[in-house]
Amino acid sequence: MPSYIALATLLDGPAHGYAIMRRAEALSGVRPSTGTLYALLDRAIAEGLVVAGEPYVEGGRERRDYALTPAGRSELAAETRRLERAARTVARKLRATTVPA
C-alpha cells in the first residue's frame, strides 16, 4: 500500500522526496519514513515505474524530481482496479453480515 500511495502522489506531477511525503500524508493520512520512501522509489525506478530527474539544489539542499512513467501509470491503474474490486467485495460482505448486539 505505501508503494501505491507513493506512486499515486506523482499523478499530480513530478516531485522531490519531501514533496512526495507531504502529498502522501495529504492523500492517506500517513507519512512514510525517509528510509521507506527511498526504498520504494529505488524499487519503482528499477521496475521502470518511475524516472528520476537530474539532481539540483534548492534552499541549499540537494533534490531530485521523480516522475511517473507510462508503465507506472498503467500499474497504478491496474492496482486501483484491484483495490476497487476488493473494496466492493468487502462492502458486500459487510452488508450481508450482521454484528450481534
Binding site: 522526496g17 519514513s33 525517509t34 527511498y38 529505488d42 539532481p55 539542499r61 540537494e62
Partner: protein, 268 residues
C-alpha cells in the same frame, strides 16, 4: 544533525549511499525539522532501511557466491589475527623464525591487498606466506606435523578461495583504515609487561560481540558475517588439547546459522 544522518547512511550499500545520500539527508532534515523525537525516529528508520537494502542485495546473490564472500571475508580476518599476534610477539621482543621481518611484510602486503580489493593477488601472497613459514611452523611444533597440517587447512582453504572466487568489489584504498584494527590489537596485546589496558580489551571484546550480533540478529543478519566469524574460530579451535572444543562448537553454531540464512527464502 547531518553528521548523525551521514553515520546512519553507512548502513546502506556504498553505491546507494553515493547516489542518494545527499538527497536522503536533505529530505530527512526537512521532515524532522523542529522535532528531536521525529529526527530520532527517522534516523532509526533510515539505518533500518539501509540494513534491509544490504540484506536484500545479499539474498539476491546465489548461495555459492554468498558462501565464497563469507570465506573471503574470513581470509581477511585470519590475516588480521595472524598479523596482530605475530606483530605483538615481535613487539614483546620474541625472536623466532616465524617472526622474520620478510614473513611479516609478506603477510602485511597480503592483508593490504585484500583490504583494497585485490583478492586474487592477496590470496596468492597469503599462500606464498603460508608456504614460506611452513618449515618453521613444523620445526616449532616437533612431532605434531598432523596438528600443524590440521591448523593450516582452514586458512589455506580461505586463501585458495580468494584466488579462485574473488569478491567483485571496486578497489578502494580507503579500506586500508581497517589496518587500525591490527594496530589496536598489537597495542592491546603487545606491551612487554603484558599489561593490557582494560579499555582497549573492552573495546576489542565489544567489537567481537557486535560482529556476533550482526551475524545472528534477524532479520538483517548477514550469513557472510556468520561464515567469516566461524572460520577463524574453527582455526583457533583446532588444537590438540580440549581448550579448543568450545571454539569449534561456537564455529559450528555460526556455520549452521550462516547456512540456514544462505538457503535464501527464509532469510530473505
Amino acid at each position: 544533525m547531518s553528521r548523525a544522518v551521514r553515520a546512519a547512511l553507512l548502513a546502506y550499500p556504498p553505491d546507494v549511499r553515493e547516489r542518494l545520500g545527499a538527497e536522503m539527508t536533505a529530505t530527512l532534515l526537512d521532515v524532522s525539522r523542529g522535532s528531536r523525537r521525529r529526527f530520532a525516529r527517522e534516523l532509526a528508520g533510515l539505518a533500518g532501511a539501509g540494513l534491509r537494502a544490504r540484506a536484500e542485495r545479499t539474498a539476491a546473490q546465489s548461495g555459492r557466491r554468498v558462501v565464497a564472500d563469507g570465506v573471503c571475508l574470513a581470509a581477511a580476518w585470519l590475516m588480521t589475527l595472524d598479523l596482530s599476534t605475530l606483530l605483538a610477539q615481535r613487539v614483546r621482543g620474541l625472536h623466532d623464525p616465524l617472526l622474520a621481518p620478510g614473513l611479516l611484510v609478506l603477510l602485511g602486503v597480503a592483508l593490504a591487498l585484500v583490504l583494497v580489493g585485490h583478492d586474487r593477488l592477496a590470496g596468492a601472497a597469503a599462500l606464498a606466506w603460508t608456504a614460506a613459514r611452513f618449515p618453521a611452523l613444523l620445526a616449532d611444533v616437533p612431532g605434531s606435523a598432523l596438528a600443524v597440517l590440521a591448523a593450516t587447512v582452514v586458512p589455506v582453504a580461505c586463501f585458495v578461495t580468494l584466488v579462485l572466487a574473488p569478491r567483485r568489489r571496486r578497489p578502494d584504498p580507503r579500506r586500508l583504515a581497517w589496518l587500525l584494527v591490527p594496530a589496536v590489537l598489537v597495542v592491546t596485546f603487545g606491551p612487554p609487561s603484558y599489561d593490557q589496558s582494560p579499555l582497549l580489551v573492552g573495546l576489542v571484546a565489544a567489537a567481537a560481540l557486535l560482529v556476533v550480533l550482526c551475524a545472528l540478529a534477524p532479520p538483517a543478519g548477514d550469513p557472510r558475517l556468520a561464515i567469516a566469524l566461524a572460520l577463524p574460530l574453527l582455526t583457533l579451535g583446532i588444537r590438540p588439547d580440549r581448550v579448543g572444543i568450545p571454539l569449534v562448537a561456537a564455529a559450528l553454531v555460526l556455520v549452521s546459522a550462516g547456512a540456514r540464512r544462505t538457503r535464501g527464502t527464509t532469510w530473505r
